[in-house]
Amino acid sequence: MSVALPELFVLGMACLILVIDLFLTEKTRIVTYLLAQATLIGAAIASMAHQFGAPEIAFDGNFIRDGMGDTLKVFIYLSAFVVFLYSRSYLQARNLFKGEFYVLGLFGVLGMMVMVSAQSLLTLYLGLELLSLSLYALVAMNRDSTYASEAAMKYFVLGALASGMLLYGMSMIYGVTGSLVLSEISGQVATLGADDMVLVFGLVFTIVGIAFKLGAVPFHMWVPDVYQGSPTAVTVYIGTAPKIAAFAMVMRLLVDGLEGLHPHWQGMLVILVILSLAIGNITAIAQTNIKRMLAYSTIAHVGYLLLGVLSGTEAGYASSMFYTIVYALMSLGGFGMIMLLSRAGFEADKLEDFKGLNERSPWFAFMMLILMFSMAGVPVFLGFWAKLSVLSAVVDAGLVWLAAVAVVFSIIGAFYYLRVVKLMYFDKPVDNTPIEGDIDVRVMLSANSLAILGLGLFPGGLMGLCTRAMGL
């Protein structure tokens, strides 16, 4: 039982908060918020207590607690914590400051934790659905917004379809190997060989499901609409922690379970990567809505993230993990900045809303500059080291040409990040409303951006954490 202690803790607390929230009024709702944050901190302590111990397996081989899982979970809590912090005043200003946001958010976190620790197809699917259902509801939280309803509908329909695909693939794998437990599947794949037809079919459907959840092209259609339609507080939630969980899903399925099929899935991932890099980066140029632009940039980042996985080496997996964490940190800052600029009745989600930010607030313009250059992969910011790691993984795997393709698209990508910097620094402001925002948001946002700079100067620690988590 102690293996799943953090999960049980979060589950218990989420239920408790749900009940407590019933007795709270508008004025005392802050208690819900504080309890949710306390839950995340408590879970982090529980997860860190055993970090890097020997892997432990529980529940008849369905559940695992290992270094990678614990590290990813800690970053999931961190992301959720920062999201809750950034979004408090945003939600209050829009009359969305309700207990549901935090309860659903915590259940989402629980789903992600289950995904991260899944050691069988069933556990994985359970976690995935718990996460997805929470997300569908969160997207629709702003009931009066037609955009949000449309986004939720689209997300739900396409998400259900993808889950169906994934289940179909899992059923084929189960049919061939006769097991749901990933370690047993892995053993069976080794005896069956990589060219078993049904197994490869199962792999194809599994990859479709994974690509959908990650938002890789050509299964990316939901990403821009959901990012744009959701309240920004929900967008930042979707854009950060679930990516970490999706990375864990990739690792559990493709590496823990189907590593024997590496020659097959490497080729499939190469196609996904190239398409994601191309469509993500090129389409982002045409956007005028910054949330939509960041959505396409996410798609491109997913392409980079998969570069490390497809190399099929331990170092490559570690580099992808590093990329995922770095991406989550940058994404938190980017959306956090949008929420900082927004106020009641003004979403600040147009690119023009960033015009002349250097005049209005040089400090936060500089913070955004750090985030943008980091996302573009310019040294010395953290994003560069993430790109370097995944590129070195593919070069090591002998795919120098793929690294060359990836850097070409990073140049195209640089253009739209530069455009944000251009708007902030070279254009005159359109409105001169002073930038307000609670002190906790301002401090956290500054810390978020400075971390991108500071960790960029000394990236060794975070890189080392990822390699250690992979057991290198």
Partner: protein, 505 residues
């Protein structure tokens, strides 16, 4: 040989930290304080860089003032600094030029002066980092990070088309360098290290060498810039504020040429030998064709920008004729002159192009026009300034006695050893260069006073006199007595040639 202080680290980090300090104090009304602090930081950095020259041991080709600390263990990346006779003069050029740039922006920049000064100081530190880095990844970090302050400088304080120019500048240079990144990663897996000196001794097959050479060429040719990837430069120069143009011309262009010496030639000597015809052809096209392009410019800054491209053609020509000279004469001694000439040309072009842009800045601050046609007879109203400007123009045209002559003469002389026609085309520049420079001088400075604007001009003030005077001294000093420069680089160049003489196949 070396002192206790980590001089190179100080030269890199003093201006960066100073720049952040300026940013911090200058955000409110403390504009004057910000300017004074900037100047002090720039002067301090220059002072720190002087011992690099004084304590340098010119008899050794080894890297000096070396600092080596582990940085990122996962990739075996080190914080590894050191200079030889090639990079040390370039660091001095950087610290010297930055002082002038800070002075030149003193009262001219009224919009957010603290940010302006801070950007230049941070750039100075990063440029010193590029010249001092001995770890390829450290080099790359400095190299790329440099784009950010320059992007901001052109974009905020530039001319009317600044946004177009700065985005073009950024994307062009970014395009060039990402391929370098891929080849550095490739070599990392061969050498299991990012140390540049390990790359020098790394064995590589010819195909790999050619691909790596081309990747480097993209990075460095864009920076130099070589024809045909030069088109970002005139735009960036014209739109940049005076200080930006000076830094671009005096130092940034040298980064590319320095890259050829530190990376392309020693890491891929066989590919360099195979492809030297390409490099020579591109260099000669730059020298001759771009010279003609400069002739027809109506905008003074554009004219100087094109003349920079043409002069940088000499630098790359001097580097890459080495192989032909060796085949013709069988001796590496003759080849040394070409490379040394190229380096002298780099330093001298740093002074001269900086001086030219500062002179244009003097006129632009008063009349707010860069058009040649807007001037005429400036000598009548600004005699002191005209004397300086004519001197710099002569130096730009390569008049003997100025530093512009030394480098060009050495390169032409060694080009004769390679091939008569190389020398012939290179020497054409003496005519074309004189034509475009002197024709501009005639139209701007001589003749009758052209219009009311010119009639109202006031001669240069003490600040401008100090800036231009310092540069004039430098131009004349190295023109008459280039030995201090040649002495420091001699052994290092010799070592470089001995190194590239050996095939790595």
């Amino acid at each position: 040989m070396s002192s206790e202080l980590p001089l190179l680290s100080l030269v890199v980090w003093t201006p960066i930290i100073g720049g952040l300090l300026v940013l911090a104090i200058g955000s409110g009304k403390h504009v004057l304080e910000a300017r004074v602090v900037s100047l002090l930081v720039a002067l301090l950095t220059f002072a720190i860089s002087i011992p690099l020259y004084v304590q340098f041991d010119p008899t050794s080709f080894q890297m000096q003032f070396v600092e080596l600390h582990p940085w990122i263990e996962r990739f075996n990346i080190h914080y590894h600094l050191g200079v030889d006779g090639i990079s040390m003069p370039l660091i001095l050029l950087t610290t010297f030029t930055t002082v002038l740039v800070v002075l030149a922006g003193w009262e001219v920049i009224q919009y957010k002066p603290a940010q302006y000064m801070a950007a230049f100081l941070i750039m100075e530190g990063l440029m010193n980092g590029v010249f001092a880095a001995l770890d390829a990844m450290l080099f790359y970090v400095f190299w790329e990070a440099l784009l950010i302050p320059m992007f901001v400088v052109i974009g905020i304080w530039g001319g009317p088309r600044r946004v177009y120019a700065t985005i073009k500048f950024f994307l062009y240079t970014f395009l060039g360098s990402v391929f370098m990144l891929v080849s550095l990663i490739y070599m990392y897996f061969q050498a299991d290290s990012f140390a540049i000196l390990d790359f020098h001794t790394l064995k590589l097959g010819l195909t790999a060498q050619i691909l790596i050479f081309i990747a480097f060429l993209l990075a460095f040719a864009v920076k130099v810039p070589m024809w045909p990837v030069h088109t970002w430069l005139p735009d960036a120069h014209v739109e940049a504020p005076t200080g930006g143009s000076v830094i671009l011309a005096a130092i940034m262009l040298k980064l590319g040429a320095y890259g050829f010496l530190r990376f392309s030639l020693p890491i891929t000597p066989d590919a360099s030998r195979e492809l030297d015809w390409l490099m020579i052809a591109l260099s000669l096209i730059a020298v001759v064709y771009i010279g003609f392009v400069a002739l027809v410019q109506k905008d003074m800054k554009k004219l100087v920008a094109y003349s920079s491209i043409s002069h940088m053609g000499f630098v790359t020509l001097g580097f890459f004729i080495a192989f032909t000279i060796f085949e013709n004469t069988g001796s590496w001694k003759g080849a040394a002159m070409g490379i040394e000439g190229g380096i002298v040309q780099m330093i001298s072009h740093g002074f001269i192009s900086g001086a030219m842009f500062l002179s244009i800045g003097v006129l632009y601050d008063r009349v707010h026009s860069r058009e040649i046609a807007a001037y005429g007879g400036v000598t009548n109203t600004m005699p002191t300034f005209a004397a300086f400007a004519v001197l710099f123009a002569m130096a730009n045209a390569g008049l003997p006695g100025t530093s512009g002559f030394v480098g060009e003469f050495m390169v032409i002389l060694s080009a004769f050893k390679a091939n008569f026609w190389f020398a012939f085309f290179a020497a054409l520049t003496l005519i074309i260069g004189a034509a475009y420079t002197l024709w501009m001088v005639k139209r701007v400075f001589f003749g009758e006073v052209a219009n009311d604007n010119v009639a109202k001009l006031k001669d240069i003030n003490a600040r401008e006199f100090i800036i231009l005077g310092t540069l004039a001294v430098a131009v004349l000093f190295f023109g008459i007595y280039p030995a201090p420069l040649l002495d420091v680089m001699g052994v290092s160049v010799q070592h470089l040639l001995e190194h590239i003489a050996q095939s790595k196949l």
